[in-house]
């Protein structure tokens, strides 16, 4: 039986709502950002739901103070605002302070990549992976569907420290029909192939699977891997999973060549001595103002399935030669 696709945030917030009923230590803070499921939290736990208003700096500061008092805090806002508007608050009172104080604080950023399709560059988010992975002590989690997103809740409760959850704002098709991936490993190999592996995160996993399907029709059987724990994946296991490939294609809904998973994989294959060449799929150029569907926007900036398919095909041919 197939699982009905849901929004990541709704599934995750529902897990929080359920847990708040028996765990008095959970606080939910929001920078005036809602969702239908959030209405349940507001109604049922008004004393542990705090709307700080449109004030992300204070969202982080208040959440840090609550976490220092022993509460498990979930802070919630639109992705670019909960990361960039308050980056120094995050650096100082979460990343730095958690070096010496036990704190469990989870930033939920909704609107990864182009998921706020018509809202333009202010609400779209192409820099957060780079920025958040730069912070020591932070765990950066980037799920591709609601099943894996919901499953991350258990990790948030059981693991201390600051975390950043990068959620898509749209309802995406279900990928993990058979159950959520292993959180201890931090990635999941969906397809084993050759000679290249598409290493994707978030929404781009859907594109990767589509591209793999398209390439299969022209005789290439590429691998596809979901990298959802960008900061704490099991390095030995990832090395083993990638060791047979001579080409690695990184795929992210963020700027190309600016410190995202492309940089991370460059560092990884260099450090680990993997004998693989790289192709990086990411947003080309700078900020754009064109309107269109997400698919159209993706094709314009070099991360759409058609563009990726032809790029990967060229890449494979170059490897064979």
């Amino acid at each position: 039986m197939s699982i009905k696709p849901l929004a990541m945030r709704d599934v995750f917030l529902d897990r929080i709502w359920q847990a708040m009923a028996h765990d008095q230590k959970i606080y939910f803070t929001s920078a005036d950002f809602g969702s239908p499921v959030l209405d349940k939290i507001r109604a049922d736990f008004p004393d542990r739901f705090v709307n700080v208003g449109i004030a992300e700096q204070n969202l982080i500061n208040v959440s840090a103070g609550l976490a220092l008092e022993g509460y498990t805090v979930f802070a919630y806002a639109i992705a670019p605002f909960i990361t960039m508007r308050c980056y120094e608050q995050i650096r100082v009172s979460l990343a730095l302070l958690s070096e010496v104080r036990p704190m469990n604080i989870n930033l939920i950023g909704v609107g990864a990549g182009y998921s706020y399709v018509v809202s333009g560059p202010t609400h779209q988010c192409y820099e957060d992976i780079t920025l958040m992975r730069a912070l020591p002590n932070f765990r950066v989690l980037s799920p591709a569907d609601h099943v894996s997103a919901g499953h991350l809740f258990d990790r948030c409760i059981s693991t201390m420290g600051p975390k950043y959850l990068r959620f898509d704002a749209q309802v995406l098709p279900v990928i993990y029909e058979a159950g959520a991936p292993d959180l201890n490993v931090g990635f999941h190999a969906h397809i084993h192939g050759e000679p290249v592996c598409l290493v994707a995160t978030g929404y781009m996993l859907h594109t990767a699977l589509k591209v793999a399907e398209g390439l299969a029709k022209v005789g290439y059987s590429v691998g596809v891997l979901d990298l959802f724990d960008i900061s704490n994946f099991a390095a030995d296991e990832l090395q083993a999973a990638l060791s047979s490939y001579t080409g690695i294609v990184t795929m992210e809904e963020g700027f190309r060549g600016r410190g995202g998973i492309d940089s991370m994989m460059f560092e990884f294959i260099a450090r680990r001595g993997l004998n693989a060449r790289m192709l990086n799929i990411g947003v080309e150029g700078g900020y754009r103002f064109e309107l269109g569907s997400r698919l159209e926007l993706h094709e314009q900036v070099g991360i759409g399935p058609q563009f990726v398919l032809s790029s990967v095909e060229e890449f494979i041919k170059s490897l064979v030669i």
Partner: protein, 272 residues
């Protein structure tokens, strides 16, 4: 927590003043002027029967939380904390030196420091979250924040000020070291805080103005403020940056001026 007489408090403040100068003599990297304006405030808080604390258990649950938001302007806390037993007095000899933990800007690895300080404008917001959490726990502990007036230019403070009054956080006590000078001059010439008390009052806070170097009124005001209920509270303490040091006191560039070693030596030679 023992109450001391006003003359004992004055004596302690003078000792802290001398020790702070001596630290700066050994470690000129420390910001001296902004540390000299807060001495009476910290002495009143820690020796004047205002704060509950336990040097043997710096993070004891029952403690009052004292957030020192103007981190670099709190070098005077080093002798206070050492004297109270948070760490050995010998540590004062190696401020800013290899192997020590008392830096030019205090870090939360120092027993007695609660949060990351020095990057300005963070303390009040974090304190507000702590105050909310303590209310939820039905704790009797209070939260105190010491910040500078120049620091109030950081907008995040005003997000916290609005939030605190909306949530009626009457366990939150803000002390503003109103020395009127930030790094490049008088705050009145940079971006004025004119009518600061009125501004905070209009944001829903209970406020008191006090002479930040008058130990007697300062101690009384802090005790009164702590007991006050219904609203978040602010004490606007009028102080002098570089207090007591000729050439430094109230000088517009005092933040970045280092008094000459010979001047410090002559001040330290004077009898208390």
């Amino acid at each position: 927590m023992s109450h001391r007489t006003v003359s004992e408090l004055r004596e302690k403040a003078h000792w802290v003043w001398r020790e702070t100068l001596a630290i700066h003599r050994r470690a000129p990297e420390t910001r001296i002027a902004s540390s000299l304006s807060t001495i009476e405030i910290f002495v009143a808080l820690y020796y004047g029967g205002v704060l509950n604390f336990d040097p043997a258990h710096p993070l004891a649950e029952y403690r009052d939380r004292c957030i020192i938001s103007k981190g670099h302007g709190s070098i005077c806390m080093y002798p206070v904390l050492a004297d109270l037993g948070y760490f050995p007095m010998e540590e004062l000899q190696r401020v800013c030196h290899t192997g020590g933990f008392l830096g030019g800007i205090p870090d939360p690895v120092i027993p007695g420091y609660e949060t990351v300080n020095g990057s300005l404008g963070h303390g009040l917001g974090v304190a507000t979250g702590m105050a909310l959490g303590l209310k939820r726990k039905r704790s009797d502990s209070s939260v105190f924040v010491v910040c500078g007036d120049g620091e109030l230019h950081e907008g995040a403070n005003w997000e916290a000020i609005m939030f605190a009054s909306h949530h009626k956080l009457d366990n939150l006590n803000l002390i503003i070291d109103n020395n009127g000078i930030s790094m490049l001059g008088y705050t009145d010439d940079i971006v004025s805080h004119d009518g600061l008390t009125k501004r905070l009052t209009s944001f829903g806070w209970d406020c008191w103005d006090v002479d930040g170097h008058d130990m007697e009124t300062l101690q009384a005001a802090l005790i009164k403020m702590k007991a006050n209920v219904g609203k978040p509270k602010a004490l606007i303490a009028k102080t002098l940056k570089g207090h007591g040091v000729p050439g430094l006191e109230n000088a517009p560039l005092s933040h970045i001026i280092n008094p000459k070693p010979e001047l410090i030596d002559s001040l330290l030679e004077q009898k208390p």
